[in-house]
């Protein structure tokens, strides 16, 4: 019972802080919007996407009505999650520097509960950002969702959030300096994002690059979101959900272990 209220307390803390720091939301949205508007428009005018099968079997850039901006929208959603959720782990390092983390660790709660409280808190922050991004997408970038696809979209991206917050907390619990975290964080995000097919179709890639894409779990989230939002995808929705969930599971297991061993 106290584990449950403890979980609620940790989650509530993140939500209160997030709701107070509105600038954080704005900051979190600047990057994806820049990508969509500048990169999406700039590159979109130059590329014709080939090899993407739409529901009706025609190429994008032709009659399917999918612009490059729309094409990268799911990938940009994932980017928002990658940055927002991974860097959530940075707060752990800040907390370590004062005795605030001790106050939480000395409470009669399992480290696992503390871990999940943080994960849920981070994912909640992130889901708010994603919902805003989707609303902007619907208003300005031609994104259409039905209630059913919206629900599945949020579910899938929520699973990714759990994976990435866990990854961030793992790194945060192992490190002592914010600078070090920044370095490792960027180092981790870079391949996860660029090798995910967020910016390009994966069907006609050279085989070495395709291999990288296939082993990157984020590729499957991008693919699943693209299927749900645009109706185009390569791996199949079941596989997309399965791989994303497996990624989350592995990261949660690793994260709880790292958290349990965390030294002050």
């Amino acid at each position: 019972m106290s584990e449950l209220s403890g979980l609620y307390a940790l989650w509530l803390r993140e939500v209160i802080v997030f709701s107070r720091e509105r600038s954080r939301v704005v900051a979190a949205l600047v990057q994806p919007l820049t990508w969509l508007v500048i990169f999406g428009t700039g590159l979109g005018s130059a590329v014709v996407l080939t090899g993407i099968e739409t529901g009706v079997g025609s190429a994008v850039g032709g009659n399917a009505g999918i612009t490059y901006q729309m094409f990268i929208f799911p990938g940009i959603m994932c980017m928002t999650v990658l940055y927002g959720c991974l860097f959530f782990g940075l707060y752990i390092i800040m907390d370590k520097r004062v005795d605030f983390l001790k106050e939480v660790l000395v409470a009669p709660l399992n480290r696992t509960t503390i871990f999940f409280g943080k994960v849920l808190g981070g994912a909640t922050d992130s889901i708010i950002e994603v919902v805003i991004l989707l609303a902007l997408g619907a208003a300005f970038f031609g994104i259409h969702l039905t209630p059913a696809t919206l629900a599945l979209t949020l579910l899938l991206i929520f699973i990714l959030m759990i994976a990435v917050v866990s990854l961030g907390l793992t790194i945060g619990s192992l490190m002592d300096s914010p600078e070090g975290f920044g370095l490792i964080g960027s180092f981790v995000i870079f391949p996860l994002f660029f090798l995910s097919g967020a910016l390009f179709p994966v069907n006609n890639l050279p085989s070495w690059l395709y291999a990288f894409v296939r082993v990157n779990p984020v590729s499957y989230t991008v693919d699943g979101l693209r299927t749900l939002i645009l109706g185009i995808g390569s791996f199949g929705l079941a596989v997309d959900f399965g791989v994303t969930a497996a990624f989350a599971l592995v990261m949660v297991v690793i994260g709880t272990q790292a958290f349990a061993r965390m030294k002050l």
Partner: protein, 334 residues
């Protein structure tokens, strides 16, 4: 063995408790036994190992050797049960400064599973105690250092733990609040039988509050008794004598007096211990020669501290600021 001691089972018991940081021994084979409802003081110079000891007892640091039981539970093997039994007020700031004072307390009571119907009342009472009712809805970021301290104290008491660790709880508090808290701490121990382990650099605080104190230096206990006994142990009153050149103290003569012990000379100052100094002063003065000034008083815990650690506590002798800065730097370096 066990059966004999069953009547007064200690609430906290350590055996050979040791903490090493790499090769540095911060706590060295500590044996302590603290009874229920006792207010137990841990005194010692900066870096003596007080915080490290408390952290091990609170399961925040794993011991490198030895064992400790808190409320009957082993700190290594039954950590979560230990944590259920204790409250901790940390030496360094530990409140969440993005939240308001009240939110800090509310989240704390959630984490400790305080019954929610009772919680709001308890929070009100705790805020009242530390005089923060009016500022409760402001963010902690805007609090002064002393106000933060008071909030952290309120938080440590909120879930009514059986055992309370207070690591320099009154550092930076104004005299009113400090007296207020002393009273409250006393009440907790007498009325609710809460066992309290407190570290402090204020000797008058240890004297006023503690049933027993342990003086530790470099990770080892160098003295352990009630403040009264410790003071008695120094041997009577302390006499300070000062000289002006060319007069010299006749130390040999004064050492011959039966009542005199512990004669120490530092420059033109002589300190000695003497039973019933008031009635012996005439003899001392006769023996020692012409003095500039003389002062005699009963020993304080400060004298005891000085005696055992060879250093006077900086906070207490007019150089408060230097001591404080040094301590802040020390904690910042960790």
């Amino acid at each position: 063995m066990q059966a004999i001691h069953a009547i007064e089972t200690p609430v906290i018991e350590t055996q050979g408790l040791t903490k090493k940081f790499d090769k540095f021994v911060a706590v060295n084979k500590l044996n302590l036994s603290i009874n229920e409802g006792e207010i137990f003081g841990l005194l010692g110079p900066n870096g003596a190992g007080k915080t490290t000891t408390l952290s091990m007892l609170a399961t925040l640091l794993p011991p490198s050797g030895g064992s400790a039981r808190v409320n009957g539970f082993d700190v290594s093997r039954e950590a979560s049960r230990v944590r259920k039994s204790i409250g901790f007020v940390f030496q360094d700031p530990s409140s969440d400064d993005l939240l308001t004072g009240r939110e800090n307390l509310y989240l704390h009571s959630l984490m400790y599973g305080v019954d929610m119907r009772a919680a709001q009342k308890k929070i009100d009472a705790a805020l009242e105690l530390v005089d923060l009712t009016e500022r409760q809805n402001e963010r902690v970021k805007k609090y002064s250092g002393g106000m933060r301290r008071r909030l952290e104290l309120a938080r440590g008491l909120l879930h009514e733990p059986r055992i309370l660790f207070l690591d320099e709880p009154t550092l930076g508090l104004d005299p009113q609040t400090r007296e207020h808290l002393w009273k409250y701490i006393k009440r907790l121990s007498t009325e609710k039988k809460v066992t309290i382990i407190i570290t402090t650099h204020y000797m008058e605080e240890a004297d006023a509050l503690c049933d027993r104190v342990a003086i530790i230096d470099r990770g080892k206990v160098v003295a352990l008794d009630s403040p009264a006994n410790l003071k008695k142990g120094l041997g009577g009153d302390v006499v300070y004598l000062s000289f002006r050149k060319p007069n010299k103290p006749n130390l040999a003569a004064v050492k011959k007096l039966r009542c005199v012990r512990n004669v120490k000379r530092e420059g033109d100052r002589v300190t000695l211990s003497c039973d019933y100094a008031a009635s012996q002063l005439q003899n001392i003065l006769k023996a020692i020669g012409k003095v500039e000034s003389v002062e005699s008083r009963s020993p304080t815990l400060n004298d005891v501290f000085l005696h055992f650690t060879g250093k006077e506590i900086r906070d207490d002798d007019g150089d408060a600021e230097g001591g404080y800065h040094e301590r802040m730097m020390h904690s910042g370096n960790r």
